[in-house]
């Protein structure tokens, strides 16, 4: 009986060209996958033929051996061939036929799979036993900002043994990119932060992955679960980035990525169950056995599937790392005696332990008087300074402070610098709260047109504006941010970056009233507002929180100086700085100091600053008579013996280009 031959391409093609090399008249490899050529199909379509499952023309059906040869060549077994008798029954491969109502695909290369005459379960169990032999590790690789990815990974880890897998969970900041080489199975679960950014824990690994030195992963099979928020423009971008990267690295995508919105608790479990079945179908050698999928799904059983799908409560597996020898130095302050210093503990600690858990352990086992602010991992009031870094201690593991993979753990834990210490690590947030209250930060909305929604009349805002406002307020802890500025501890009147950032964002909200905006700007532009920040770079360096806040501070300062027409010391400083660079291409310190300080230059004379500059490097042993410039100029202008600037700068090469850029970018200067 004549046979109907159908061939299609399943998911996971790695575009290796092997099939096209073997049978170019039927297969055409594109940039992303492989298509079945129109000339070879009865329906004349040109795609993977996965959906329509059109039969090949009789001319090519007669060349089934070559199609099978091409499928044999396929390293990832995604070429599916079905042979059907004209009566609708699949032609028996060896001795039996598939069920009539549905063509059972046969992955060539495993065409001698047990025939349908035998019970599927028992036949499969024999195959599964073989599949389950040897290495069955599954890496659950997490990029997480707020803990959602961990929760999804915990679900997966819990269910993994059902599929014969041994799961290990790794945060992305716990591995190096080279560690992925040799990993057979990996499921990436990654959230997206802000405007398409990687979460903090994933940033370093992503940087390493993006470098030219990143390894190839030809033997790795993967799936990606991406978490995000559709309110953001770059929805699930991090997961998309990882999905693309693994593909480019030569890894095999086992199933399509899932992009989960805020309802990830409902949408991710079915995908996780499917992903586990897929990775479980990868054998020790890295080969994917598509024919084992149904059996693996069945292994989970309806009970397990529904349990995972429902996100049923269970004990979240502990993310564990080996113990490391740690030296923990903790600041101590006794308000009764006024004594302060550091206590030092040397102990072996599991490296996955958070800083907060470490403090709890020390308090519970070593010194019950140790005082710190305790709370949930994301409690904004628990902030500490750990090895010079501002952190919420419940959100960082101590391993993040290790130097090198095998490096010693040396922790120095101090209270936040901007606050008065109550006892040990506990600080009084009054300086922040006081400024916040005094700034009257509440929102005074304008009367606006509303839109009629099902819920009633509501004020609306366009999505990009809402997203920008949301991103600009993406601060994990305002108490932490307040102490990010190095100015705050030295100027108690300065309202600080956290209050400023909040006020600036509120002032930029299109829903605010004119009076409300004016009141906020008055605080921002006052003497203790943004002009009091002595160095925004000290804020900017504090990770994502600092970058968000410093962008707000720069914007607030630009608006302030512009509105005040670059008057006063601050305005003059910025104006003359920018102006003098235009004049020669480089900063002229003499012009800058003279233009900003004006008569204040004379103060520098009796304060010893000018004489000190005049005498130059007596402190460091430099020659007093550095050059003759001082004899060429009059009194009252900074002169040039020792550490004195030039009076006149020579223009840089092609200075006209600098001027042209100024003219193109800012006509004010």
């Amino acid at each position: 009986m004549a046979a109907v031959v159908k061939v299609w391409i399943d998911e996971g093609c790695i575009t290796c060209d092997a099939c096209e090399d073997t049978f170019p008249e039927v297969f055409h490899v594109t940039d992303d996958t492989c298509f079945i050529r129109a000339e070879a199909r009865v329906d004349g379509g040109y795609d993977e033929n996965r959906d329509s499952k059109s039969a090949v023309t009789s001319e090519f059906a007669a060349q089934l051996e070559i199609i099978e040869e091409a499928a044999d060549e396929c390293p990832v077994d995604v070429i599916i061939i079905a042979v059907e008798t004209e009566g609708g029954e699949a032609e028996p491969a060896e001795e039996s036929a598939a069920e009539a109502e549905e063509i059972e695909p046969t992955v060539v290369g495993e065409a001698e799979a047990p025939a349908a005459a035998e019970p599927v379960a028992s036949a499969a169990s024999g195959g599964l036993e073989e599949l389950m032999q040897g290495e069955r590790d599954l890496l659950l690789l997490i990029g997480s900002q707020s803990g959602n990815s961990e929760a999804v990974a915990a679900d997966a880890a819990k269910a993994a043994p059902t599929y014969g897998l041994t799961a290990r969970i790794k945060m992305m900041d716990e591995i190096a990119i080279g560690d992925l080489v040799g990993v057979r199975r990996v499921i990436i679960i990654c959230s997206t932060w802000g405007e398409g950014d990687m979460p903090d824990t994933a940033e370093d690994l992503w940087q390493a992955a993006s470098s030219s030195a990143a390894p190839k992963l030809p033997g790795t099979s993967f799936g990606v679960c991406s978490l995000g928020d559709t309110a953001y423009e770059f929805y699930c971008q991090s997961g998309k980035d990882w999905d693309g990267w693994f593909e480019k690295a030569g890894a095999t995508r086992l199933l399509d990525r899932i992009d989960c919105d805020l309802d990830y608790e409902e949408t991710s479990p079915p995908w996780i169950a499917e992903a586990l079945a897929h990775v479980a179908a990868v054998d020790e050698a890295g080969n994917f056995h598509a024919d084992a999928l149904d059996d693996l799904r069945a292994l989970a059983g309806p009970e397990e599937s529904s349990r995972v799908a429902a996100g049923a409560a269970f004990d979240i597996p502990q993310l564990t790392q080996a113990e490391r020898q740690a030296t923990v130095r903790v600041f101590r302050y006794d308000p009764v005696t006024g004594e302060s210093g550091h206590d030092v503990w040397q102990c072996a600690l599991p490296a996955h332990m958070s800083v907060l858990e470490t403090l709890r352990l020390l308090k519970g086992t070593q010194d019950g008087s140790l005082t710190f602010r305790d709370g949930a991992p994301d409690d904004p009031t628990t902030g500490l300074l750990v090895n010079g870094r501002l952190v919420l201690p419940g959100r960082v593991s101590i391993s993040q402070f290790a130097r090198g993979d095998e490096g010693a753990l040396n922790l120095r834990i101090d209270p936040l610098p901007a606050y008065d210490v109550i006892r040990d690590l506990a600080v009084d947030h009054d300086s922040y709260q006081r400024h916040l209250a005094a700034s009257r930060p509440w929102f005074r909305g304008a009367t606006r047109d509303g839109a009629q929604l099902d819920q009633g009349v509501m004020g609306m805002m366009d999505a990009p504006t809402a997203a920008n406002l949301h991103a600009a307020q993406d601060i994990a802890s305002n108490q932490l941010l307040h102490s990010a500025s190095d100015t705050v501890p030295h100027n108690r009147e300065y309202i600080g970056p956290a209050v400023l950032s909040r006020l600036w964002n509120r002032s930029q909200d299109p829903r605010i009233s004119d009076a409300g905006r004016a009141a906020l700007l008055a605080v921002i532009q006052g003497a203790d507002g943004v002009k009091a920040e002595a160095d925004i770079s000290s804020v900017n360096r504090q990770g994502r929180m600092g970058a968000v806040a410093s962008a707000n501070l720069y914007a607030a300062k630009r608006a302030t100086l512009q509105e005040q027409h670059f008057t006063g010391r601050h305005g003059a400083h910025v104006w003359f700085f920018t102006q003098t660079v235009k004049l020669s291409g480089t900063l002229n310190e003499t012009v800058l100091a003279g233009g900003t300080l004006k008569m204040g230059m004379l103060r520098n004379l009796y304060r010893g600053i000018l004489p000190r500059m005049l005498l130059g490097f007596t402190r460091t042993g430099g020659p007093i008579m550095r050059d003759k410039q001082s004899f060429l100029i009059g009194a009252g202008i900074p002169v040039s013996i020792g550490k004195m600037p030039k009076l006149v700068n020579s223009p840089v090469e092609d200075h006209h280009e600098v001027v042209a850029l100024y003219n193109a970018m800012d006509g004010r200067f």
Binding site: E203, N387, G388, R389, F401, R403, D414, D486, T487, N491, E533, A534, D535, I536, S537, S538, N540, R541, G543, Y554, R558, L561, R569, H570, H573, V574, W575, F577, T578, V581, G585, T586, L587, L592, L597, R607, G608, R612, M613, F617, R619, T620, G621, G622, R626, K643, M644, K646, V652, E653, D654, E657, V658, A660, L661, A664, M665, D666, R668, F669
Partner: protein
């Protein structure tokens, strides 16, 4: 050809009031076989001040400098931590924001015939010494050990992710490693990455002086006999304004402050008389 080649961006102050840095850089380049290709057309980095008037203007000027280095196929080396921090920030803005990059490139192509592609890297001298030259080479070339406690000052602008090489942004070690290999005793103190308020020296002087005093007094308290700074801009606060910092804060700030390039150059045998004078200052005069 020299073993190491960089496009050289000295920074405005190195060409102005801190010309001693250039003296030292010349010595370092000679001793360590580094070719510093001058970017004669490069403009000021903006020092975070220009950004307070117009961020895009500062970014455009720096993009031009980057494009000049890319045209030479070289990374940029600077001895100034403020330049390093500011320029890396602008580099990241350009590479992360395609729309901004295209807007800036349109002007660069029209005005300068250049285009920023993002193929170069900004490197501070400290990173070049540790990552490219190697501490072992410094040890081999050491002639005059700096045999006293030295507080290394990094400053704030460079100590952010992406701007400090492979060093830890918050708990850095590069400066301490260099001091140690040059025979000195590195002084650990919290203030080494804190700002001294240079961008506001002329406008928020009181805060800047208190910040300066805090860094100097902490370094002294931890045993430093001299301080070396990776930032010639901060040197102005730490050295010239030292007495004023003491007056404003009421603290003892008296401490010799030199530049990182001087520390390295003198230890490697450049300008022996300056090192002798410094040693005299430290050992004979004390605090």
């Amino acid at each position: 050809m020299a073993k190491h080649r960089y496009a050289y961006f000295p920074g405005c102050v190195t060409s102005g009031s801190a010309r001693e840095v250039q003296d030292a850089m010349d010595g370092i380049a000679r001793i360590l076989d580094i070719e510093l290709l001058p970017l004669n057309g490069a403009s000021c980095c903006g020092a975070g001040v220009m950004k307070q008037a117009n961020a895009k203007l500062q970014i455009s000027l720096n993009a031009r400098t980057f494009a000049m280095a890319e045209a030479e196929g070289l990374d940029v080396l600077t001895p100034c931590a403020s330049c390093q921090g500011n320029m890396v920030e602008d580099f990241v803005s350009l590479t992360d924001d395609e729309q901004l990059r295209e807007e800036v490139n349109e002007q660069l192509e029209k005005i300068c015939g250049l285009r920023f592609e993002g193929t170069m890297r900004m490197r501070h001298l400290l990173q070049v010494l540790v990552e490219d030259i190697g501490l072992d080479v410094l040890a081999d070339k050491l002639l005059n050990p700096i045999d006293f406690p030295v507080a290394g000052y990094y400053g704030a602008p460079m100590q952010q992710e992406g701007a400090c090489g492979d060093d830890d942004a918050y708990d850095p070690q590069y400066f301490e490693q260099v001091i140690e290999v040059l025979g000195g005793a590195p002084v650990e103190y919290e203030g080494r990455t804190q700002s001294v308020g240079f961008p506001s020296l002329l406008s928020e002087e009181e805060s800047a002086m208190k910040m300066t005093a805090a860094v100097l007094t902490e370094a002294k308290k931890e045993g430093a006999k001299i301080m070396a700074t990776a930032c010639p801009l901060s040197h102005l606060n730490l050295d010239v304004y030292q007495v004023e910092a003491a007056r404003v804060s009421g603290q003892d700030t008296d401490l010799p402050v030199i530049h990182l390039p001087e520390l390295v150059a003198w230890a490697l045998g450049h300008d022996k008389s300056r090192l002798a004078q410094l040693r005299t200052r430290v050992l004979v005069m004390g605090d």
